[in-house]
């Protein structure tokens, strides 16, 4: 019954999105207020309908209604309730529905919180948003209906892929989708601005918070995904340059560029055309990512059920959304007025360099991910792996990180590089000390790792110096500094935190990539294994029984110089319904390094494959990501981002006075 309710809600949502795509857009073109006014209630209702459908599907999963095909395929009555619920989006149909819920959720948020937007712009934004929604609703209903019934209903389900039965992965997709889909708002704003023929500082001020919100969730989503890969796959790695990882990373890189270029539009009314293009491309990359994952175009560890018909449908959607918006860009962008000029050495110049490097980095990942497909079409088959990215991606990050420390210290319009660098003397000193200390402390390891530590410290010190200068720490009495700190706009704190978080993440990546020690061997109970100064005593294996799996659990006592450190209990699980084995790594962290181990197959003679890794600094990767997310959230909570209205109206009059196109009431 509730499934039919969900089905009905979806169909209504489809019809409503047709209305919302057309009516407000036409209304805005004709200046018809009644038609414009349709947008807001429609966006809210659309969200309500998709929530209803999502609720109906969730309910079906919770009560294990196996008469629904998707529940039968992806759930099991013996599964813990948490995974019954997360199983809703652990499959193609349900995750697509979640995609749409978030898409309409963002639309509803614009409708609800965009009170101070000019009505025509708001109508057009919501209309574009509805067009995207329409495409995906049609895709869902016609090719991947989550409410398809099977008759007769099977007695029990086929269970969720055991790799997905994990808290880390359970919440990874919603975060990731919120990020992907969040960029749809920037996209809708860009398309609406192209239709209006007007981009100004106020426009940038509205786009920024949505982009920032999307960036925050995408950062969290990617971090969660890599954390899951780290502890679940059992190989001690946290990033594999897998196509599906890459397609989530590309919108992140592009979105980061967009976040920064929008600042230039807001503050200096410059880089407008470029920012519009970035907004379109960022969401386009999200769409391409969805396409790649769901069409079976590339091989990946993350496989959804592959169906060429679905792939074709999304490809048509891509052609309309990306092709259409880029065509609109080609026609309308040349008519946008160019903004203010600036010298290459200036805050704007730094942000342009940031944008250039991030864009090139995105193309590098793009070529690495999709290049094999293009070459395959030409008849050669290659695979692109870590060596390519190490050789091409990392050299691009070096100047980016170097500039990241300098950029925030540069004044707008025109700057003296010498003066700024002299303010970074202390950072330079710290960098040299850090590099010398690293070279002294760590024997072996690549030289580039020492340089990487140096760059990370340079960035960290640069971020802190910028912040301490703003509050005049140590130069005025401490109380005054404190007062300055509380008065500093939150976005300034946010930037410092985000940049510092990046530096910490880089340290983590460097440490785990350069100085990781690993040992893979067959061990028997009673064996002692020595890895990076730690002794692992293998006490034995025992069988344990989980709710829907059986496991072999190893017990290893870890000591260092005779001193007890911890007991590690890695597991090898077999999920009964899908007959699929998974590894559960055991990890001990002290914040500076992880002791990581996994057990593999038995050799049949009492020996077990054992993998032990010593991973220095690896927790810093996720600590850095968390700090970036906190920084972004801090910035998002800035008053200036929330209430742009009073500032806007002043600029607004000034602008319309100068006779720009698209004057609004």
């Amino acid at each position: 019954m509730s499934a039919e309710l969900g089905q009905f809600a979806l169909i209504l949502a489809l019809l409503l999105s047709v209305v919302q795509s057309a009516v407000p857009m036409i209304g805005a073109a004709r200046g018809n207020r009644a038609w414009i006014a349709v947008a807001q209630p429609s966006a809210l209702l659309l969200f309500g309908l998709t929530i209803l459908a999502f609720g109906a599907l969730t309910q079906a999963f919770m009560v294990s209604d196996f008469s629904l095909s998707v529940v039968y395929q992806n759930s099991h009555s013996a599964k813990p309730m948490l995974y019954k619920i997360t199983g809703v989006w652990g499959n193609h149909e349900g995750s697509m529905l979640l995609w749409i819920v978030i898409l309409t959720g963002f639309g509803a948020a614009v409708a609800a919180f965009g009170q101070n937007l000019p009505p025509t712009l708001r109508a057009r934004v919501l209309s574009v948003q509805a067009m995207v929604t329409l495409g995906f609703l049609a895709f869902l209903i016609f090719t991947s209906n989550p409410f398809d019934r099977i008759f007769p209903a099977p007695l029990d389900g086929r269970d969720l892929n055991p790799l997905l039965q994990d808290p880390g992965l359970a919440f990874h997709p919603p975060m990731l989708y919120a990020g992907y889909v969040g960029f749809s708002i920037a996209f809708s704003f860009a398309v609406a601005a192209l239709i209006e023929g007007k981009v100004d500082a106020a426009w940038a001020r509205w786009v920024r918070p949505w982009t920032l919100a999307a960036w925050i969730t995408l950062t969290a989503g990617i971090a969660l995904g890599s954390w899951w890969a780290y502890y679940e796959l059992g190989w001690g790695g946290w990033w594999f340059w897998d196509p599906v990882e890459n397609v989530s990373f590309m919108p992140w890189l592009m979105g980061t560029a967009l976040l920064h270029s929008a600042i230039v539009v807001e503050k200096r009314d410059s880089l407008k055309v470029w920012t519009i293009l970035l907004a379109i491309l960022t969401f386009s990359l999200s769409l391409i990512g969805t396409f790649v994952v769901r069409s079976g175009l590339l091989t990946s560890v993350h496989a959804f059920a592959v169906d060429p018909e679905r792939g074709l449908f999304i490809l048509v959607l891509l052609a309309i959304a990306i092709g259409g918006s880029l065509l609109l860009f080609a026609v309308r962008a040349p008519t946008l007025t160019a903004g203010g000029l600036f010298s290459p050495i200036s805050r704007e110049g730094g942000l342009v360099l940031n944008n250039l490097l991030l864009t090139v980095a995105t193309s590098v990942v793009f070529v690495g991910t999709l290049g094999p497909l293009l070459l395959e079409a030409a008849g050669t088959k290659i695979s692109v792996g870590t060596p390519y990215y190490n050789a091409v991606f990392i050299p691009l990050m070096v100047p980016l990180v170097a500039v990241m420390a300098v950029g925030p210290l540069l004044p707008w319009k025109r700057a003296e590089l010498g003066a700024v660098l002299s303010r970074l003397k202390f950072a330079g000193l710290m960098t040299i000390i850090a590099m010398l200390a690293t070279a002294y402390l760590v024997e072996g390891g690549p030289v580039i790792a020492v340089a990487a530590v140096g760059f990370a410290i340079w960035l960290l010190a640069g971020a802190i110096i910028e912040w301490t200068e703003r509050i005049k720490l140590f130069r005025v009495p401490f109380g005054d500094s404190f007062k300055r700190m509380t008065k500093l706009p939150r976005s300034a704190h946010g930037m410092t935190l985000a940049h510092a978080g990046m530096a910490i993440a880089i340290l983590g990546m460097t440490g785990s990539a350069a100085w990781k020690t690993e040992d893979i061997r067959i061990a028997r109970p009673g064996d002692n294994i020595e890895v990076a100064g730690y002794n692992y005593l293998f006490e034995g294996m025992r069988s344990i029984q989980g709710p829907n799996y059986q496991a072999e659990q190893g017990r290893f006592v870890v000591t260092r110089d005779g001193e007890f450190i911890t007991v590690l209990t890695p597991e090898k699980r077999l999920y009964m319904v899908q007959n699929m084995p998974t590894t559960e790594a055991a990890i001990h962290t002290n914040g500076l390094r992880d002791l990581y181990m996994a057990v593999g197959d038995s050799d049949g003679n009492g020996g077990w494959t054992v993998r032990i890794y010593h991973e220095p600094l690896v927790p810093w990767i996720w600590a850095g990501c968390i700090i970036m997310v906190i920084g972004g959230t801090f910035s998002l909570s800035d008053r200036r981002l929330r209430v742009g209205a009073p500032v806007r109206s002043k600029r607004w009059q000034a602008k319309s006075g100068s006779g720009q196109a698209g004057a609004r009431a």
Binding site: L297, P308, L315, F329, A330, A377, K381, D601, D603, G604
Partner: protein, 181 residues
């Protein structure tokens, strides 16, 4: 005019990309296919000793040039998927009368012999490749892997992973029959 054309660049790039995407959607295309550089080339020069306790002799590259189509299968006793494909290989050898040679990959002879005693030995000859050196020359990624070698000793097809009924019926058997003619 030139300035205006540049604005069309993004959409052009996308159109080209879209064309590739369309091509990539071909359901016949399997992105997981790993082509072998060995296809249609002669098997590498090798000479594998017999596997002790298996009761059959070893083989070398000359043995594969005697005018008979041979199925060469790399296997190991420690490999579970090898056990999974074992009944299919046995059927191919016993029922279809296909000549099946085995390369025993990085295995202990006593383990491999025990495995064959337990599950039956469908191989007419087995070479012991303890070091895995010969398998590398063949381009073996991991066990199990199966090659079809024609009567002149050229590798004509390679299957990665365990054979299943579908691959056997749709690819292996038709190709062998074609080669036999």
């Amino acid at each position: 005019m030139g300035r205006k054309l540049i604005f069309f660049l993004p959409v052009l790039v996308f159109l080209i990309l879209g064309g590739y995407f369309f091509w990539g959607l071909d359901p016949e295309r399997n992105p997981a296919d790993i082509p072998s550089v060995m296809i249609d080339k002669e098997v590498p020069v090798f000479d594998l000793a017999r596997l002790d306790g298996s009761g059959v002799v070893g083989f070398n590259n000359e043995d594969l040039k005697q005018g008979t189509v041979t199925l060469v299968n790399a296997f190991a006793s420690w490999c579970l998927p090898c056990l999974a494909e074992h009944p299919i290989l046995t059927e191919l050898a016993k029922r279809n009368g296909i000549r099946l040679y085995g390369i025993n990959y990085k295995d202990k002879p006593e383990d491999a012999a025990r495995w064959l005693r337990e599950h039956g030995n469908p191989y007419a000859r087995i070479g012991a490749d303890n070091s895995g050196r010969v398998s590398i020359d063949w381009g073996v990624y991991g066990v199990p892997e199966t090659y079809i070698v024609d009567g002149e000793g050229r590798i004509r097809y390679r299957h990665i992973g365990p054979l299943d009924q579908a691959a056997t019926d749709e690819i292996i058997l038709p190709l062998i029959n074609e080669l036999k003619q």
